[in-house]
Amino acid sequence: MAMSRNEILDQVKEVLVDALGLDEDEVTEGATLMGDLGAESIDFLDIVFRLEKTFGIKVPREELFPAESLMNNPDFVSGGKLTPKGLAEFKARMPHSDFSKFEANPDINKLTDLFTVAAVVNFVERKLNQAA
């Protein structure tokens, strides 16, 4: 039986609580992994491994967190902001993230705000649906 979004959210919360040493009430859907929850680069790999184990899915890191490979492309980034082409590319690569706030001012320093708890839940939901 397919998991409901709430069931996925609960398990994602558990993954983040374990991986980042948090209290459960800190993990809200709107929380950003780096800014609010204090995740560092190695934590992202830890989270990826835990998601794979918890949900039995394959999580290529560049799918969930594609920023690294796109940031160095001058077509996509100019003057510290994403170009329209860059923004389109990021949106295409990260359908699990909500760009509505970021779009107004696509400052690359704000890119990390796209990695929210909700984005991880969306990502897992899509993966599970693909597998189903």
């Binding site: 374990d18 991986a19 190695i42 790999l45 830890d46 990826v48 491994f49 184990k53 890191r61 690294e68």
Partner: protein, 161 residues
């Protein structure tokens, strides 16, 4: 000199699991201060022993081509003291391995007693710190480390048809 916190491997299954043995002795000078009159193996050194056991397991899985660095202590729980004269076994199991990193779980036992449970994450640093330069040679897996595996990894390769 590397401070090696395991004496030898007693089991080694490539990419799967490894068990290392350490004999704890009062000849280890730090035990005289940790603590005066009450010598016990520091818990941080048990973590280091696990990091070496699991780190070699991770390194061997990729033919020692990666520079494997302890990146994160996911979990470390200690249930009992380890004293001079104790023989401990450090059991490490591979949980996940990817091009950039690996995670392991494990425990330390003395006889039937579980002393500690330790889960770690390792980074393959060349894959994760792009743009930073590291020496070509693998400074993680030195001869001293490799000598620990003699009789396990070599033997296994030789026995292949």
């Amino acid at each position: 000199m590397r401070w090696i916190w395991i004496d030898k491997f007693v089991e080694f299954e490539s990419g799967m699991r490894a068990v290392a043995l350490k004999n704890v002795t009062l000849a280890e000078e730090h035990l005289h201060d940790h603590f005066p009159g009450f010598p016990v193996m520091p818990e941080c050194l048990m973590i280091e022993g696990m990091a070496q056991t699991a780190g070699i397991l991770v390194g061997e899985a990729r033919g020692f081509s990666e520079k494997v660095i302890l990146a994160k202590i996911k979990n470390a729980v200690f249930h009992h003291y380890v004293r001079p004269g104790d023989t401990i076994l450090i059991h490490a199991e591979m949980e996940s391995i990817a091009p950039e990193a690996a995670s392991t779980t494990g425990k330390i036992t003395r006889g039937d007693t579980v002393i500690a449970e330790i889960s770690l994450m390792f980074s393959h640093i060349d894959k994760n710190l792009a743009g930073k330069e590291f020496p070509e040679e693998n400074f993680v897996f030195t001869d001293m480390f490799n000598s620990l595996l003699r009789g396990f990894v070599g033997q296994k390769k030789e026995s292949k048809p």
